[in-house]
Amino acid sequence: MKKLPYKLRTGFHRDKELLLMLLPVVVYFIVFHYIPMYGATIAFKNYTPAKGFTGSPWVGFVHFVRFFNSVFFSRVVINTFAISALSLLFGFPAPIILALLLNEVKLRWFKNSVQTITYLPHFISLVVIIGLLREFTLTDGVVNDMLSFFGVQRRPLLQFPEYFRTLFVVSEVWQTIGWNSIIYLAALSGVDPELYEAAKIDGANRWKQTIHITLPSIQSTIMILLILRMGRLFTVGFEKIILMYSPSTYSVADVISTLVYRTGLLEMNFSYSTAVGLFNSLINFLMLLLANKLSKRFSETSLW
């Protein structure tokens, strides 16, 4: 074996306890995250469970070609991007705004109750949330009751493609706003009060303080979270879509992950669904790299 370079050897000697503590984490990642990656090879095979990962025949890029040629290819890609981008556009700033507003509230009991109320939906199962949404949007549901009060005709809202994305994003914001604001509230509590005092002496009002002190103070937190979120720009979880969509809304609701779910789990076409999933991961990885690079350039905050 080649002799290790001097620096590495002393480092190893000096930090051996630390390295020992690191070991379980490394083992965890290798066993549960890297070894299973071998399974992704079935995207290039005709996989059947009986023949296993190694025994199934190689077929090259057949499944990828089928996906790119599929009549639904452009549709699921566009839908995935559209739903995700809308969620980002409305879902990302919402908790920041909530945190900023809560930060300005001086009444302790009011602040605490608002926080608790906005967290609550996070702890309700998605199935229940969508169950409520489905009931509320029926023609005799509460949403239609309200709309008909203003003279709008009663319609089963969830069945019409034009309302699907709105309902998706609104329910998403409602469910996640409180929980996601926690991290910003934590960042806000770390802002030095002297900065505000100094600003006040300089004659800055609340709005100016927010723009010039609060936001710059939590900017790095926002950027890191934004980069991480960008890495999932081409991801929409299948659970919520599956619970919400129906044939009449396929055209705006069918996304990559639901296609993977249908072909993989329902039709047992494992190789094809793996190929689609792999394609999705690749795009996500590229998006993450891109976001990181942009962030590095504009704000000097980056993941690495």
Partner: protein
């Protein structure tokens, strides 16, 4: 160094995959007569019985079966409504139960031949004649049913659920509120025009907010109510020249869509139709929000009738399947082949160690004694022989607290399905709880469907993969467009484009595959 790490990683992987691979050896061993044979059994817990027990093993039926066959059975049930996913996950994980009760013929992608090739189930062709004498004898005596039980290449693979009498093959059809019809002085509807008049009057004169309601899945399934009136169905069928056609691209299908679009726009169809489920349908029918629906003789019509038996405003009966012109015979309706693939078909998985023992266990259901047991339960407890007729006792028929489905399910399996031959005496007592049901079934049985329905044909594994690829796209598109047309989201003048799109998705190849499979079936 690098090579060694790769080597170690590979070694770890090989060891891990060996653990996950499962034991697939086929080693029949002679069973010790004293020690019960331990068997795991995957099966759906039918909704009727799920309200009483969480596992079939707790029921008197299963206890008695284990006693009689000297076995120790551990039943594994998927979560309610998750049968397909649970089965697919089980196959994907390779962790199979010894007995798999599932519709391999209809629902396994690629069918039974593929399931054998994939190493999921055991080929029983050589084993049945030797180790399952009762089932084999039944096949010898009923060559027509045996033909349905094997694949094109002559392989046997299951212990199937068989409907043993022609009165058992019809159990589904249109249901209307007959009290409303009497109030309005109307006869039972026969034609599509009759239906339209009836639904309009239900809406205007009876205040129905959803005159016709149903779950989309029930409309789409093989009964083809309404769409059948226009000479097509939602899937493949045989036309009058015995050629295979695909319903959703025919001109008749467009007429169906036009009709339903008009009905939907006029408020004759439930506006929330796409999100209907079983409970909501039941609620609307039994509270007078809806006046017509589709359903099963016992689990819908029977349940609804008992729910409204104290309500003088509502009564139900089953009517004939609608047709276009008075006097026509419906071209499509629900009617099963005696054997056509059921979630009650039992298969022996490749994980089974004592295949011979399991063959014996499953074959019991086809013996004289086993047939009585599966159909009627335990003599003296769940039935008595009265003048040579197996008569269910009060325990099953008149429980003060539980519906019949729940009581029957604890003592026998004829009220749902399973690996045995179903007998007509079961239905004569269970299905005809109300006189209205006795009216419904002959109405539903008026049909010409047996000349148009595809027999349970099986494409080869290679063809199946290709067919699945084509049809998964086509069916998604068909469902989407059907809903959009009916709800008026899409205008019907795009129908020609829709047809062209379906053809471009490879429909002709699919028809070719089915035609070949049909030729092989006829040659069996």
């Amino acid at each position: 160094m690098k090579k060694r790490i790769i080597g170690i990683a590979l070694a770890i992987f090989v060891v891990l995959s060996a653990f996950g691979g499962g034991n697939q050896s086929l080693a029949p061993s002679s069973q010790d007569s004293s020690a019960p044979l331990e068997v795991t059994w995957f099966a759906e817990l039918t909704p009727g019985i799920a309200q009483v027990v969480t596992n079939l093993g707790e029921t008197p039926f299963a206890q008695e079966l284990m006693r009689r066959t000297n076995t120790q059975i551990e039943f594994q049930h998927p979560a309610a409504g998750q049968l397909n996913q649970a089965f697919n996950l089980m196959v994907a994980s390779g962790d199979l139960t010894d007995i798999i009760e599932y519709d391999i013929l209809g629902r396994y992608p690629g069918g039974p031949e593929k399931a054998i090739e994939d190493g999921v189930i055991v080929d029983l062709t050589d084993l049945l004649p030797v180790h399952a004498p009762n089932l084999w004898k039944f096949y010898q005596e009923n060559p027509d049913i045996a033909k349905l039980a094997r694949t094109d290449s002559g392989k046997y693979y299951s212990f199937p659920f068989i409907r043993g009498h022609e009165s058992l093959v019809v159990y589904f059809g249109p249901i209307v509120n007959s009290k409303w019809l009497a109030d309005l002085g109307m006869a039972y509807p026969e034609t599509i025009a009759d239906w339209e008049t009836m639904l309009t009057r239900f809406k205007n004169e009876k205040g129905a907010t959803a005159p016709l309601t149903y779950e989309p899945a029930l409309l789409e399934s093989n009964n083809s109510t309404f769409v059948g009136a226009f000479g097509v169905n939602f899937d493949f069928y045989l036309d009058n020249n015995r050629q295979i056609q695909y319903g959703p691209i025919q001109p008749g299908y467009r007429q169906f869509l036009e009709t339903f679009q008009r009905w939907y726009a006029n408020g004759l169809i439930d506006p929330n139709i796409e999100s209907m489920n079983r409970e909501q349908t039941t609620f609307k029918m039994t509270t007078g929000q809806a006046g017509a629906s589709l359903g099963y003789a016992a689990s819908r019509l029977g349940v609804w009738l008992s729910a409204v038996k104290d309500n003088p405003e509502i009564d139900f009966t089953g009517t004939k399947y609608p047709v276009l012109n008075r006097g026509d015979i419906p071209m499509f309706s629900q009617m099963d082949f005696p054997l056509q693939g059921s979630i009650g078909d039992a298969h022996i998985s490749t994980a089974a160690k004592d295949v011979v023992g399991i063959l014996k266990l499953l074959d019991y259901g086809y013996s004289e004694e086993g047939n009585m047991f599966y159909n009627f339960g335990i003599e003296g407890v769940s039935y008595e022989m009265i003048d040579g007729y197996p008569t269910y006792t009060d325990l099953l028929m008149n429980d003060p607290n539980l519906p019949r489905a729940a009581m029957f399910g604890q003592y026998l399996r004829s009220s749902s399905n399973g690996p045995f031959v179903q007998r007509r005496e079961y239905f004569e007592q269970y299905g005809y709880q109300f006189p209205q049901q006795e009216v419904a079934l002959p109405n539903w049985a008026v049909t010409d469907v047996m000349n148009h329905k595809l027999p349970p044909i099986s494409p080869t594994p290679e063809e199946s993969a290709e067919l699945a690829t084509i049809m998964s796209d086509i069916n998604t598109y068909r469902d989407e467009m059907r809903t959009k047309y009916i709800m008026g989201i899409e205008n019907l003048n795009t129908f020609d484009t829709y047809v062209r799109n379906i053809q471009n998705m490879g429909l002709n190849r699919a028809i070719e595959i089915y035609t070949n499979a049909l030729r092989r079936f006829n040659a069996r």
